[in-house]
Symmetry: C2
Amino acid sequence: MNIKEELKRRARLVDEALEKYLPPDHEHPAVIHEAMRYSVFAGGKRLRPILVLAAAEAVGDEAGAASAMPVACALELIHTYSLVHDDLPAMDNDDFRRGRPTNHKVYGEAMAILAGDALLTTAFELMGQSAGKFSPQAVNRVVVEIAQAAGSQGLIGGQVVDTLSENKKVEASVLEYIHRHKTGALFRAAIRSGAILNGASEEQLQALTVYAEQMGLAFQIKDDLLDIEGEQEKIGKPVGSDVKNQKATYPALYGMEKARKMAGLAAEEAVAALKIFGPKGEFLRSIMHFIINRDH
Amino acid sequence: MNIKEELKRRARLVDEALEKYLPPDHEHPAVIHEAMRYSVFAGGKRLRPILVLAAAEAVGDEAGAASAMPVACALELIHTYSLVHDDLPAMDNDDFRRGRPTNHKVYGEAMAILAGDALLTTAFELMGQSAGKFSPQAVNRVVVEIAQAAGSQGLIGGQVVDTLSENKKVEASVLEYIHRHKTGALFRAAIRSGAILNGASEEQLQALTVYAEQMGLAFQIKDDLLDIEGEQEKIGKPVGSDVKNQKATYPALYGMEKARKMAGLAAEEAVAALKIFGPKGEFLRSIMHFIINRDH
């Protein structure tokens, strides 16, 4: 399997589904639907939806996994809403994201706030609508799982601590809190949700949770490293912007060498957790390798 | 029944439940939980949760209705989040709400945005958690119902059109769109959700939908009238602020006399729709009378 090609192929499937699930941009009131679509179709890698589907495939049949598409897309909408709100002037005040003007630069602050709100709301609508395809109990469990991962003790909690820590020297435990919540929680919820929907056993769910947590850590450290070592046109933002903004990062705290080792170790542990899946863990294994070796 | 006392009693029950469901304000990261609680416990009438429970009582037994409390509270959290975001500088830029400084005046814009996001997210967590007490299918249906009411073609859609219409002369159809979505959609979802959870028949659901829509209209017109005729200390904001902000209102479009008549007519239609419930419709009937006669 060529993992890059496979990820692209799957990202296209996710894009097609998002196209279908989001209200068309001429739907009244048009400007909010345009604003929602502007940020959703901004060239993301669709990693979270792909992880939902991959986890579902690892524990069950392919048809079941394919039915997880609405929940997969819900994760992408939550990820996108968090970026739209994070970029706002009152938050990180970013003018560019993935090489394009941020949502509020195009649609204004009011509409960017509302578009974020609407993306978050649509995410839960999609989850509820996948009810026909799985046990309704599993769907309810996934709603709770994702809401907790996205909430004040998940994604939002991470953003809060990140905001409070800006321009301050942070300890390792704070850095870990930020990343485990701001990035890790949604990865974890993506993988667990796909698995829960497609009937994972408790043992499978535990193994995938370890995979998710270690993968999330490796992903974040790699992100921090790319901010220093990457090429601007590939990562879509100026190299060194974390350093400039005095962001808490792993290289800042541990140095490049140690950070690189930590990422490698986390990736190894993630892969080790997949052992019980045998060949059915192959795709998740490849995703881990891709994440640790990516250049953007 | 003394409706004022009964509403107060029920609002206290809702407050107790909200107190229990929301993370304590010392929970890490404390500031977000403080900010969430600041706006939730700001002296609201808890009308939306009370309507969830009242609709549930009208169609089924009291024990079932009491189990709808998490969903009832979810509606209040969505209402509160929408107020927190609406008050932001980029939106209505309001410094006071119910006589107290608005969320962003106390916690800053970043935290107010995040607190709103967290309230919306917690609302869906609560819905998912009520799964054990009702048929999981009904819970899923309610998640979709409420997400649609709160989304880009519901509450948020109303806010979008309201924002676009500020300082413009609007037609009757635009005013109706704004209110049917900005206020009406959540009332409708509250009443329908309570009914769906507690096993309403299709006939009952239809009747309650008519009640909800007419009641929402009467509520909004009354709100507009109070902004002109009310007393500042009772309504918690300066009298005439809608006129000052050139907000689209029913009195502005139709005049006081006609607006008053429209509110009365809507209230009558709401009450008429309750006929099939006999004595079990009494509380909803009293709520309608209370709304049309309130002075704040």
